[in-house]
């Protein structure tokens, strides 16, 4: 089984969700994160003191999937999340030994 993890811009979450639904994905898990990379952060000023904030808000999306679906899902996320501007984020795919659905104890593909 595979785990697809994507870091995307927060306002793209809805588009990604729709794309995943269209790709037949039944579930995902989302986390608010802070990203650091090429995309510039911003500057804040408080009573004359200027702070540079390097981190940019992002969301992290995790999707468990069958081996043969993983590439397709990654592509779907990439297409939905792309704006073409710096900071669109990354997607990575990694191996999972086993997946369990807690409710039923079903395993792997059945657990999705």
């Amino acid at each position: 089984m595979k785990l697809i993890t994507a870091i995307v811009k927060p306002f793209k979450l809805d588009d990604v969700k729709t794309a995943l639904k269209d790709a037949g994905v039944a579930g995902m898990t989302v986390t608010e994160v802070q990203g650091f990379g090429r995309q510039a952060g911003h500057t804040e000023v408080y009573r004359g003191a200027e702070y540079t904030i390097d981190f940019v808000p992002k969301v992290r999306i995790e999707v468990l999937a069958d081996v043969m679906d993983a590439e397709r899902i990654a592509d779907a996320i990439a297409d939905a999340a792309r704006t073409g501007k710096i900071g669109d984020g990354k997607i990575w795919i990694s191996d999972v030994d086993r997946i369990v659905r807690i409710r039923t104890g079903e395993l792997d593909a059945d657990a999705l």
């Binding site: 804040e44 000023v45 408080y46 009573r47 004359g48 003191a49 200027e50 702070y51 904030i53």
Partner: protein, 411 residues
């Protein structure tokens, strides 16, 4: 006894009382989330402890033997002796047309907020027990004498210096004490390298709103009557706050490239501070000029802590010491006898010459020097005995957990 005047002073007393929770939020929003309860609690404690100390002895030291032209009062009103629902029968205080107990109550709310103002300077690092001892002693040794000298018919009043609602007694006094404490406790860990942005600016804006509202009671209540002077003081208060917001923001915009929300709130407070000594003594457009100048100057005074390397965390010196001083000195220019007959020497711009300005300089210098020296001494003794500052681990953890075993926010 006059019901109209009493109605207004009752209201004003409630308004000024409400300023301390407002101040707590104003400051509390500016600190980091792990220190907000520490800040709120220091302000709450000022409400708790100062009231009791006031009743026991500090009121009497401030307003006992009123009009003696001296340095301090006496013990005639200690334990609220003779402080009741009737008029007071005393020469200096005889002008009061309100129950004496509400005069004591009104002044009590000033005695609460003054030490509370200091807490902004020493944010995030004071031990709570040491803070309690400090403000308890400070009220008696610093606040009461200065209040007596200025409000209680002491020698600064006799001299001819004017202070309508506490530019010296409250603001310069608190600001000088704040500076003394800050020098004693040192900087916050990580200051100035680590950014420590305000954890909740909406709380700060709310606090500023409450302060602005309450200041109507602070300044117009200081007329101690619902008369034309109170009305003028109210208008001046609001106009100065507004103008100072503009003054601050213009300079901020030029220097930092942005007009900030924190700047707007801070500017308004700076204006309220500066108009405090002037509120019932000036008229017309004067409050707007005073506000504009105070806003701009207080913004520039933010640089002092950078230049001198002290960590006055929430800028009590820039806003209260400098703001109070700006107001006191500008009164020397704008004081207007047609607004208030108590203005014996008019300001420079009204053709009164420099006499009043000189008195203002003297009163300001005396207040600042006295407050700084005695506050430093009290702080030093406490520091040497019980320690003013939390240890490193407690500072990292934050005051909320280390001092009060609480966290401000949960799910």
């Amino acid at each position: 006894m006059d019901a109209g005047n009493t109605a207004w002073v009752l209201t004003a007393t409630a308004l000024v009382l409400f300023m301390t929770p407002g101040l707590a939020l104003f400051y509390g929003g500016m600190v980091r989330g792990k220190n907000v309860l520490g800040m709120l609690m220091q302000n709450l404690m000022a409400m708790g402890l100062m009231a009791v100390v006031w009743a026991v002895v500090a009121f009497s030291l401030a307003f006992g033997d009123a009009g003696n032209g001296g340095f301090i009062g006496n013990f005639e009103f200690a334990f609220l002796h003779d402080v009741g629902p009737e008029l007071i029968d005393q020469e200096f205080l005889g002008f009061l047309t309100i129950p004496f107990v509400v005069f004591a109550g009104f002044q009590m709310t000033f005695a609460i907020i003054t030490p509370a103002l200091i807490t902004g300077a020493t944010a995030d690092r004071l031990r709570f027990p040491a803070y309690m001892v400090f403000i308890g002693v400070w009220l008696v040794l610093v606040y009461s004498p200065i209040a007596h000298m200025v409000f209680g018919g002491g020698w600064l009043a006799d001299l001819g210096a004017l202070d309508f609602a506490g530019g010296a007694v409250v603001h310069m006094n608190a600001g000088a004490a704040a500076l003394a404490l800050v020098l004693l406790v040192g900087r916050r860990k990580g200051y100035p390298e680590t950014p420590m942005p305000p954890h909740s600016l909406p709380l700060t804006v709310l606090g500023a709103g409450i302060l602005w509202f309450g200041w109507a009671g602070f300044n117009a209540g200081s007329a101690l009557a619902a008369d034309g002077i109170a009305a003028q003081a109210l208008m001046n208060t609001f106009l100065a706050a507004s103008a100072a917001m503009l003054g601050w923001l213009v300079v901020e915009r030029i220097k930092d490239g942005r007009a900030t929300t924190l700047g707007g709130a801070s500017g308004a407070v700076a204006g309220l501070v500066a108009i405090t000594p002037c509120a019932g003594f000036v008229g017309g457009m004067a409050p707007i000029y005073i506000g504009l100048i105070a806003g701009a100057v207080c913004y520039l005074a933010l640089g002092l802590k950078k230049s001198f390397g002290f960590d006055d965390s929430l800028d009590v010196v820039a806003v209260h010491l400098v703001g109070g001083l700006v107001g006191a000195l500008l009164l020397g220019f704008f004081a207007d006898a047609s607004i208030n007959a108590a203005v014996a020497d008019e300001g420079v711009f009204l053709g009164g010459g420099g006499r009043l300005l000189w008195y203002q300089v003297v009163a300001s210098a005396v207040t600042i020097a006295y407050s700084f020296v005695v506050s430093y001494a009290i702080g030093a003794v406490i520091n040497a005995t019980m320690g003013l500052r939390v240890d490193d681990a407690a500072e990292d953890e934050g005051l909320d957990l280390s001092q009060h075993a609480e966290t401000a926010y949960a799910d």
